[in-house]
């Protein structure tokens, strides 16, 4: 509701996105990506889309996070870029 | 009901050899049955074409529409005098060529004979389709079918050379087909119709001049490939690697004649003499054709291989027809149309002779022919008749057509065309004379025994065609009224009185 909070959330989103794409350790990238989706969920809550926010938190952040971890466990943690 | 028969005859005539194709393929293990099918189809086809003669001679046309191909355009046949004229020549000579091929293929124990006879049958189907096509799209349809059907014939030997020739042939012919399609599409967009019209479907209308020229060039290239007009002729001598009856078929009956048939259809029925003259298109055609006549004759002069020499001679003679049509006069058209049949009978004779010599003695170079006339008098006698006719001497039908062509160039006031015809006649004599000299007046090579004539399957057809050439001079209306048909066709195109 407060646009100042929203701006903070957006900045957090940008930072998380850049971080997720930037770090070389894939596990760290996965954590950043999960943080990104979780921030998105918070943003939805702040915009009154409560149902979307919860779904995003559970499905987006939760399941995608699990996917990432599972995939990285099955493959490798290192990345060149 | 006889009327009903005639209404369906065009389609049946096209269909009969197509229908024979599976039978030929199925009988691949039994040569006698296979050749029986070929001959039967040839005879039935000739009969069907003949059955159309009375109606057309009376000045009418036989029309038949099968189905709609594209909106406003049907797959339709319309047999007019000109189409019937061509169909008669093609189907008549098919019978002879079939007999001859049987002798040739067996004598030479060629492989893949079944494929040969099958493609042959399809080619004839396509040729009759071209002759009877009532509109441009139907014409193109059979034109492309002919391209595909003759491809196996061109590559018959399947060696490197043959495959290269086949590639060249396909590249040229399919590109030409595409240009025809585009040109027809333009005409359709302009006039809303693709029906052939005696006198030209484009004449009378007001069309942009630049576009007319471009489209004319497309059509010229389109039919020019098959009729061997000069920059597009190179596949023709290359296709010489095909077996000889194929050369005979390519050069006298089907492919190249459909090309020049297309030229006359284009001049007389698509653009029309009036529009041709108005836009100066006839001069373009005349220049291309004239240059081809002279250059091809000169090149023929230099060839040492008999079949190659005949091939270049063919290129030259095809352009006679184109040049005759370009004159746009009554006599010019008459000469052009008559030259189709004249050249057909004469050139097929010559190729039959070359093939008979090759099968019998395996000689293909002109230098090897010393004294051969004494061993094979009938064959070489026919050869003399054919070559004299091509040079334009009486009493052979080549004289007749040339006479009209010369008269046509006088009427048109194109003395250059006249010069071309005369010069080419001299060149013809010059390149055929040495062959005859060798055959009859040089001694045979030392140690060679007289080997006698080739198999009657080959000698009889070639004598028949030579006889035909003479007979058609003496009695131009013999058998099938070719002369009258030509007159009817010309009067349709020029709108004047038919027989000059």
């Amino acid at each position: 509701m407060n646009w100042k909070i929203e701006i903070v959330l957006y900045l957090l989103l940008l930072a998380n996105a850049l971080l997720a794409l930037g770090v070389r350790n894939l596990l760290a990238a996965a954590v950043a990506a999960t943080a990104f989706t979780f921030t998105v969920a918070l943003l939805f809550l702040s915009m009154g889309a409560i149902d979307v926010g919860f779904t995003e938190a559970v499905v987006g952040a939760g399941i995608v996070g699990v996917y990432f971890i599972a995939a990285i466990c099955q493959t490798t943690r290192k990345s060149r870029d | 009901m006889p009327e009903n028969w005639i209404a369906h005859a065009p389609f049946l005539a096209v269909l009969v050899s197509l229908a024979a194709t599976p039978l030929i393929l199925l009988a691949s293990r039994r040569p006698n049955l296979r050749e029986f099918w070929t001959l039967l189809a040839a005879a039935v086809k000739f009969g069907l074409v003949l059955s159309l003669l009375p109606a057309v001679r009376a000045g009418g046309t036989v029309e038949q529409t099968l189905l709609t191909l594209a909106p406003g355009i049907s797959l339709g046949f319309r047999v007019d005098a000109f189409g019937l004229y061509f169909a008669l020549i093609a189907s008549g000579l098919w019978i002879l060529t079939s007999f001859y091929s049987i002798g040739y293929m067996r004598g030479n124990s060629e492989e893949k004979q079944t494929r040969y006879f099958a493609s042959f049958a399809v080619s004839l189907s396509a040729t009759i389709g071209i002759a009877f096509a009532g509109n441009l799209l139907t014409f193109i349809l059979f034109y492309e079918l002919l391209t595909l059907a003759t491809y196996p014939l061109v590559i018959h030997k399947e060696n490197r050379e043959a495959i290269r020739a086949g590639r060249q042939y396909l590249a040229f012919a399919l590109s030409a087909g595409l240009l025809l399609v585009v040109g027809s599409a333009w005409i359709y967009a302009q006039t809303g119709s693709l029906e052939f019209e005696a006198g030209g479907m484009l004449s009378g209308g007001d069309h942009p001049a630049g576009m007319m020229r471009v489209v004319f060039m497309m059509f010229l290239a389109g039919v020019g490939v098959k009729s061997g007009i000069m920059p597009l002729h190179s596949w023709l001598p290359a296709a010489m690697v095909a077996p000889t009856p194929v050369s005979a078929l390519l050069h006298a009956v089907a492919v190249v004649k459909s090309g020049v048939f297309g030229v006359i259809r284009m001049v007389g029925f698509v653009f029309g003499p009036e529009a041709m003259g108005a836009y100066g298109l006839n001069l373009v055609l005349a220049v291309f054709a004239g240059v081809t006549v002279i250059l091809a004759s000169l090149i023929a002069f230099q060839q040492t291989n008999l079949k190659k020499r005949l091939a270049y001679s063919t290129v030259a003679h095809l352009s006679y027809v184109a040049l005759g049509a370009a004159l746009l006069t009554q006599a010019g058209f008459t000469g052009a149309i008559l030259h189709i049949s004249a050249h057909a009978t004469m050139k097929i004779t010559l190729f039959f002779c070359a093939g008979a010599i090759y099968v019998h003695t395996h000689k293909s170079e002109i230098g090897e022919l010393d004294g051969i006339g004494r061993s094979m008098p009938w064959t070489m006698g026919a050869f003399i008749i054919g070559s004299l006719g091509l040079a334009g001497l009486p009493p052979i039908n080549g004289f007749l057509s040339k006479w009209f062509l010369l008269q046509g160039s006088l009427d048109a006031g194109l003395l250059a065309a006249m010069g071309v015809f005369l010069l080419s006649g001299l060149l013809n004599a010059a390149y055929f004379f040495p062959i005859i000299m060798r055959a009859f007046f040089r001694p045979s090579p030392a140690g060679e025994k007289p080997f006698g004539e080739a198999s009657p399957f080959m000698v009889v057809p070639l004598c028949l065609t030579a006889f035909l050439s003479v007979a058609l001079f003496l009695f131009p209306n013999l058998f099938v009224n070719l002369y009258d048909l030509a007159g009817l066709a010309v009067s349709g195109i020029t709108g004047g009185e038919g027989t000059p």
Binding site: Y10, L14, T37, G48, D51, V52, V59, A71, T76 | -
Partner: protein
């Protein structure tokens, strides 16, 4: 100035996120990084929809006894929200397929880096 930021900051941020996501999908060489880019890209589109449905001063689309239900401006449009629920699920499904494929690529070629992958495929 404040007004301008106030009116548009969301769209600017979303555009930036879209570009970042696209960059990740197309330019990153690591396959998992590409998938992360995809997650960012999809989520920013979802944010766009939700932002578009957002109205200042409106409340969640649940009937509030204190507000009139006749006044449309009092409530958010719930339609984009429901749509985005579907979009999130679809997006996750795609990411799931992506991971399955990544794992099978790794089994076949033992690498997740695109240049090495192309090298080993020859």
């Amino acid at each position: 100035m404040v007004d301008f930021i106030h009116d548009n900051y969301a769209y600017w941020a979303i555009m930036l996120l879209l570009v970042i996501g696209l960059y990740g999908m197309l330019m990153k060489k690591n396959l998992i990084k590409k998938l992360i880019g995809m997650v960012i890209f999809q989520n920013s589109i979802i944010i766009l929809f939700v932002t578009a449905a957002y109205k200042w001063g409106a409340t969640v689309p649940v009937v509030d006894p204190g507000r009139s239900t006749d006044e449309i401006a009092n409530y958010l449009n719930p339609l984009p929200h429901t749509l985005m629920l579907t979009a999130i699920v679809v997006g996750v499904a795609i990411v799931g397929v992506g991971f399955a494929i990544v794992i099978s690529i790794y089994r076949n070629f033992q690498t997740l880096e695109e240049p090495e992958l192309l090298e080993r495929m020859k």
